[in-house]
């Protein structure tokens, strides 16, 4: 599309609209708008993946921070779990961002495609809500990670398990986020859900908080490496923020089920295309 000589004004308007659509669908489906922006910018607009990653990362911070106030109101976030795990994700993010500056862009494309496929797959799986009361990890006790959250039947206590495993997985999630410029919320929820047995609502809203902090950590590296182009990040960030604000207001409703499936298919197609182009060395 870029080869057809769009000027900056036309280009910005189109990218802004694409970003708004991605942000809207990303918020509705919980996948986040960031997951489709980088593939769309690289595959459709022919933009170098490093510029695309820099612009996407910035918009991830906007959606995470913008959604946080809604999450905070509900009282599900656990700030201690978030802060403790942030140590892992921020170090991971910086490691990932450095890695991204070293490995070939085609490899980045393939890895991004694989992560997208996995995220799309995870979003289709059912979400367990109330856990049986397994014995807690003594480390969770010492770190004061155990807490309770509001349910329709009153406050439900939960105890965090396998703290070390979760911490390790979070380093990985941070590295993926830093390497690819995405929020990698799906991976964060996975670590908290499956390893640490944190209730889904708590892990989702805590992960939303962590996404912004993790992205800020790698944003520093990208800024200093010259990956963040203001003229490209501007329409992406404004479009994605506006779209996800709108999307967050329409969270409930039956029609989201169909949209979720459609968006999942779009993500999967982009992922396969990303892997294919990466393997062919066209990214």
């Amino acid at each position: 599309m870029m080869g057809h000589g769009l000027n900056s004004l036309e280009f910005s308007l189109i990218v802004c609209l694409v970003g708004a659509a991605a942000g809207f669908l990303g918020a509705l489906t919980g996948l986040g708008g960031g997951v489709v922006i980088t593939p769309v910018l690289t595959l459709l607009f022919g933009i170098d993946i490093r510029y695309a990653i820099g612009a996407t990362l910035v918009s991830v911070i906007a959606t995470s921070s913008g959604a946080a106030s809604a999450f905070l109101k509900e009282g599900f976030s656990n700030i201690r779990i978030g802060m403790f795990l942030e140590i892992a994700t921020t170090f991971g993010a910086i490691a990932g961002a450095f890695l991204a500056t070293r490995i070939p862009t085609s490899a980045l494309g393939v890895i991004l495609g694989l992560v997208l496929l996995y995220s799309a797959f995870l979003s289709t799986r059912p979400k367990p809500e109330i856990r049986d009361s397994d014995p807690a990890d003594p480390l969770a006790e010492r770190l004061h990670l155990n807490s309770s959250y509001p349910t329709p039947h009153g406050w439900q206590a939960y105890r965090v398990q396998r703290v070390k495993t979760g911490f390790g997985l979070m380093f990985g999630a941070g590295a993926v986020s830093g390497m690819l410029g995405i929020g990698s919320g799906a991976l964060k929820v996975l670590a908290m859900d499956h390893a640490m047995r944190i209730p889904f609502k708590v892990s989702t809203s805590t992960s939303n908080f962590m996404i912004g902090v993790t992205a800020a950590a790698s944003a520093g590296v990208y800024l200093n490496r010259g990956y963040i182009d203001p003229a490209l990040a501007m329409p992406v960030m404004l479009g994605v923020s506006a779209g996800s604000l709108l999307g967050a207001r329409h969270l409930s409703g039956a029609e989201t089920r169909a949209l979720r499936v459609i968006f999942g298919v779009v993500v999967a197609v982009l992922a396969v295309e990303m892997i294919y182009s990466g393997l062919r060395g066209r990214i």
């Binding site: 800020a216 203001p230 960030m237």
Partner: protein
């Protein structure tokens, strides 16, 4: 305890929303100006050159924004956005200090240091 945390959450919510709104306004203003001046040029992001040094560091962006360079103004807005979650962590440092929670004061300080180190580019920024 519960009520105090709800109060803290409300302030954090306001802080985050204000940060995103301010950043978006600055980015928008810079963007309008940029497009008014250079909107007819054809951009090229096909090949990666990296940004010029003045757009790569906090100090450089600040100077450019003061000189009213449109690209620097956008970049300054993006820096405000990056600063928003960092401000939230800084706020948590204060909240844990007030609660006299030494363990979490230390944990939060580590996270804050990592973030500030990353944004400052100290020790790794290309010369």
């Amino acid at each position: 305890m519960q009520r105090q945390e709800e109060h803290v959450d409300r302030i954090i919510g306001i802080l985050l929303r204000a940060g995103v709104l301010t950043a978006a306004s600055v980015v928008f203003a810079g963007g309008v100006w940029y497009l008014a001046r250079f909107g007819m040029l054809v951009p090229n992001y096909r090949t990666f050159h990296g940004e010029t040094p003045d757009l790569r560091s906090v100090g450089g962006v600040w100077n450019g924004a003061l000189a009213l360079q449109p690209r620097s103004i956008i970049q300054f807005g993006l820096l405000l956005l990056i600063a928003t979650p960092i401000a939230r962590v800084a706020f948590s440092v204060v909240a844990f200090a007030v609660q006299r929670d030494r363990l979490y004061l230390a944990i939060t300080l580590v996270v804050l240091m990592v973030l500030l180190w990353s944004v400052s580019g100290m020790g790794y920024a290309p010369r």
